[in-house]
């Protein structure tokens, strides 16, 4: 069984640009979660999508947004990039049967110059 996949593995952008990160959940998983792991700030919850809807949002500004597609894959969009957005962005997924257990992908490392 394939795990959570994320693309790209690395992304380099400049300040003010937009970044799009992609995530494919484990087959059969309907919920997707996004976390930011920035140096000095630890792991912080960003967003939770389930059945195409945003269900919960962490303490991040509106320029962090996303969506979930009918096949349950997800995109995270970060607009008007700032230097402090440089981080590892982790996607996780969970199934209906085991909603509380999240399985993580390898992450996308975003560098904002």
């Amino acid at each position: 069984e394939a795990g959570v996949t994320q693309s790209p593995t690395h992304l380099i952008k400049t300040r003010g640009q937009q970044a799009t990160l992609r995530c494919s959940p484990i087959s059969g998983h309907t919920s997707v979660y996004w976390y930011q792991q920035a140096l000095g700030l630890g792991l912080q919850f960003l967003l939770w999508y389930d059945e195409g809807e945003e269900r919960n949002r962490g303490n991040f500004p509106p320029r962090f947004s996303g969506r979930q597609f009918p096949n349950y894959s997800s995109e995270l969009n970060v607009n008007a990039l700032e230097l402090e957005d440089s981080a590892l962005y982790l996607c996780a997924s969970s199934s209906d049967r085991s909603q509380e257990t999240q399985y993580f992908g390898p992450g996308t490392r975003l560098l904002v110059l």
């Binding site: 979660y33 976390y35 630890g42 792991l43 939770w48 509380e100 257990t101 999240q102 993580f104 992450g107």
Partner: protein
């Protein structure tokens, strides 16, 4: 709001020995979930073990076991017969069940991590 504290930023252990990583948390909830994840140098976050607060029995997964003390709000991870591949950053995490509160539903709250190095 929930908080998770890992007071040991770094630890080391000799191969084949046993090590215990500490975690404490603060919550007013009675039912919740606790997790240990490991993040090796590859940066992939891997689930190690999970504990439901309503279960008194401590969870075990092969060489990994927990000591869950609900009254003390303590959730330590014991690694037996440590192997070189256990070298990683270990994160303790807390989650409220989604049925109870929508304010932080399905949101994992992580501790700051403990870097464990297994020495040959």
């Amino acid at each position: 709001a929930q908080t998770v504290t890992q007071s040991q930023p770094e630890m080391s252990v000799q191969e084949a020995e046993t090590v215990t990583l500490s975690c404490t948390y603060d919550t007013s909830e009675n039912n919740y979930y606790l997790f240990w994840y490991k993040q090796p140098p590859s940066r992939q976050m891997i689930l190690v073990i999970r504990q439901e607060a309503y279960k008194q029995q401590n969870a075990t997964e092969n060489r990994f076991s927990v000591n869950f003390q609900k009254a003390a709000k303590s959730f330590s991870l014991k690694i037996s017969d440590s192997q070189l591949g256990d070298t990683a950053m270990y994160f303790c995490a807390f989650m409220k069940p989604s049925a109870i509160s929508s304010g932080s539903a399905r949101q994992l709250t992580f501790g700051s991590g403990t870097q464990l190095t297994v020495l040959p």
